[in-house]
């Protein structure tokens, strides 16, 4: 007999996604949707789409969705979660959205240990608007607003959000994963699941930073793009967990299903 071992999750709607071929957003959408389905919270999950390529997320996730102003996902999430603590609230955001215009909202939601989950898609570029420099654009990387490559003298240093937010005192869960290879995708899913669980257990702010490929605005083919993730992005953005709730404090409960993220750096 034949068994369907991989099927499209009901956490997504049926609408074909409008992302470019090879874009990481699609993979990440699926992971989040599967986690929502698997945790059995689909009927009480509210998603927040960003302003960015994945503004379309509000058509794809099969749950209630809201579309906030650029960068303000964490603020909108705060309002929702405080009113509906019984709901699972996640905000899906790009690097421009979360780390540039939305920096204050991100930092303060984290500092408030606001009990929400952020899916942070770091593709080192402004995808939606056509490839401008992001706060996470690598040094030397070209973009339409850093046509000669990002120059630290003029444009400063790329921001590593996980490391940065980990310097706050508020508890929470911070992890960086990627979706450029099957093994990484699997780990990414575990990270997403753990982040949602952290929220469901009321352990504070959780953020999954996902290094994602943007073939279009990197001016690469999809295959070149996943290699770029491996060779260029991950060395600057090391994968792993940066904060786990109450890791050090004895006596307080651990988030269950803790994942140990040990990423291979060899790639063939």
């Amino acid at each position: 007999m034949e068994k369907k071992v991989f099927k499209r999750t009901g956490g997504l709607t049926d609408i074909p996604m409008r992302y470019c071929p090879g874009c990481g957003h699609g993979i990440i959408h699926r992971l989040v949707a599967e986690v929502i389905e698997e945790l059995g919270v689909q009927k009480r999950t509210i998603g927040i789409a960003p302003v960015g390529c994945s503004v379309f997320a509000d058509e794809y996730f099969n749950c209630d969705m809201i579309q906030p102003p650029h960068g303000r996902g964490p603020a909108v999430a705060t309002g929702m979660k405080r009113i509906r603590p019984d709901c699972v609230v996640f905000s899906y955001q790009g690097d421009g959205d979360l780390a540039s215009i939305g920096m204050a909202e991100t930092v303060h939601a984290a500092a408030r240990a606001e009990n929400i989950t952020i899916i942070f898609v770091n593709n080192a570029i402004y995808g939606m608007t056509g490839g401008q420099m992001a706060p996470t654009t690598l040094i030397g990387m070209k973009s339409t607003t850093s046509p000669f490559g990002r120059d630290v003298k003029r444009a400063g240093y790329p921001i590593r959000m996980c490391e940065f937010l980990a310097a706050l005192d508020a508890p929470g869960y911070l992890v960086r994963v990627s979706v450029h290879k099957p093994a990484n995708v699997m780990k990414a899913k575990k990270a997403v699941k753990k982040a949602f669980q952290v929220q469901m257990e009321g352990l504070g702010f959780s953020m999954v930073e996902i290094i994602s490929q943007c073939p279009t605005d990197w001016f690469l083919t999809p295959l070149q793009a996943v290699e770029y993730v491996e060779k260029q992005m991950i060395p600057y953005y090391p994968l792993g967990e940066y904060k786990t709730p109450f890791k050090k404090e004895e006596g307080k409960k651990e988030a269950k299903d803790k994942i140990e993220v040990e990423f291979r750096t060899d790639f063939n």
Partner: protein
């Protein structure tokens, strides 16, 4: 609270919002409205509500966006600089047709200006300081009683029309104390009627999306034309104003908020001096009482608009009057409050007595 008690305008406003069912407030300190968040910070927890001091005005407006989309009666408040920062959010909320209520307790501007009472944000409030075609229902109280009792009406209209409503008051109304009685019993949020656009639990219904965008050619236009219809119906049905001494007036003053009180106090002086002077006080600034003004213009030669700015509402008055009366303007901008005698002087000058 049927007993009259002395209350600060800002506190009366906050209490009025809570009594009207407000259960979520997010705001950021700014003078002269600080008593609102301060009051909310202890009062809301008392009724099981949530107070958040947001990291900024931008965050505050978006927090209430989220909270309202989840069903709470929400509020934010600020003064000029902070309200400016909220304009993007207000435009989104208007576009997404989510009800919110907020207050602008005006101070002197532009810029950092000062913290004295002013009315320089009239344009911003009535024309939509944000981008795109939208409107906000604007109430202009002129006493602590109204500061306390208008929030309920604002909430009702915001809910009815699914849009932002606001109170536009100068710092004086926020800071002063006067006796107040609430004209309504506290409302329990449990008694609100069901809304069919709220987010939360999808059990037994289709999923919902709250958004202000539509990239499909022509769709957003359709939505905006729907909004336009709504606005027209509000202009038809929700105008509120107050008039005094209009019978046979030779001159009608038009003023809102604190300026209207000062104008009112000039009426007896004028009467004594043998002049027939009336006062039209718009209570809703948008929708603006166009029709009544048009009627007045048919009968009265002089209209004197008094504002605590360099001339903003006067445009609406002119739009209503269409050249039929002479429209005069007297303004004290950026933190100066006119006194009775000044207004009387203006009246005398116009009527040349």
């Amino acid at each position: 609270m049927t007993e009259r008690i002395l209350m600060k305008g800002n506190e009366a406003l906050a209490e009025g919002a809570v009594r009207a069912g407000c259960r979520f407030f997010a705001g950021y300190p700014i003078t002269p409205q600080n008593e609102i968040p301060e009051y909310m910070s202890w009062r809301l927890p008392e009724v099981g509500g949530t107070f958040i001091q947001a990291e900024s005005e931008v965050a505050a407006i978006n927090m209430i966006f989220g909270a309202s989309a989840c069903g709470a009666r929400v509020m934010t408040s600020s003064s000029g600089p902070g309200i400016s920062l909220k304009q993007e959010g207000i435009s989104y909320i208007a576009g997404a047709e989510i009800p919110i209520f907020y207050a602008d307790i005006m101070r002197g501007g532009p810029g950092l200006g000062n913290i004295a009472p002013a009315q320089g944000d009239y344009f911003q409030a009535t024309r939509g300081g944000g981008h795109g075609d939208y409107r906000v229902i604007v109430f202009a109280p002129n006493s602590v009683i109204e500061m306390g009792n208008f929030p309920r009406i604002c909430y009702e209209l915001a809910d009815k029309y699914r849009m932002p409503s606001m109170i536009l008051a100068d710092g004086l109304l926020g800071q002063m104390m006067e006796p107040i009685v609430y004209d309504f019993e506290p409302i329990d949020p449990k008694d609100f009627p069901e809304k069919d656009y709220l987010l939360g639990c999808t059990e037994g219904r289709e999923r919902r999306v709250v958004r202000s965008y539509d990239l499909r050619p022509g769709y957003l236009e359709k939505n905006t034309l729907k909004l336009e219809k709504k606005f027209k119906s509000i202009e038809e049905n929700e105008v509120r104003y107050d008039d005094t001494n209009m019978e046979g007036a030779d001159l009608v003053m038009v003023a809102f908020g604190t300026a209207s009180r000062v104008c009112k106090s000039a009426i007896p002086l004028a009467k004594e001096a043998g002049m027939k002077v009336g006062l039209l006080r718009p209570i809703t600034l948008w929708p603006f009482p166009m029709k009544v003004l048009r009627q007045i213009a048919d009968e009265v030669e002089h209209i004197l608009v008094v504002e605590m700015n360099i001339g903003q509402m006067v445009e609406d008055v002119k739009l209503a009057v269409e050249g039929k009366s002479q429209v005069h303007f007297y303004g004290r901008p950026s933190g100066s409050v006119p006194v009775t005698e000044e207004i009387f002087e203006q009246v005398k000058m116009i009527l040349k007595k």
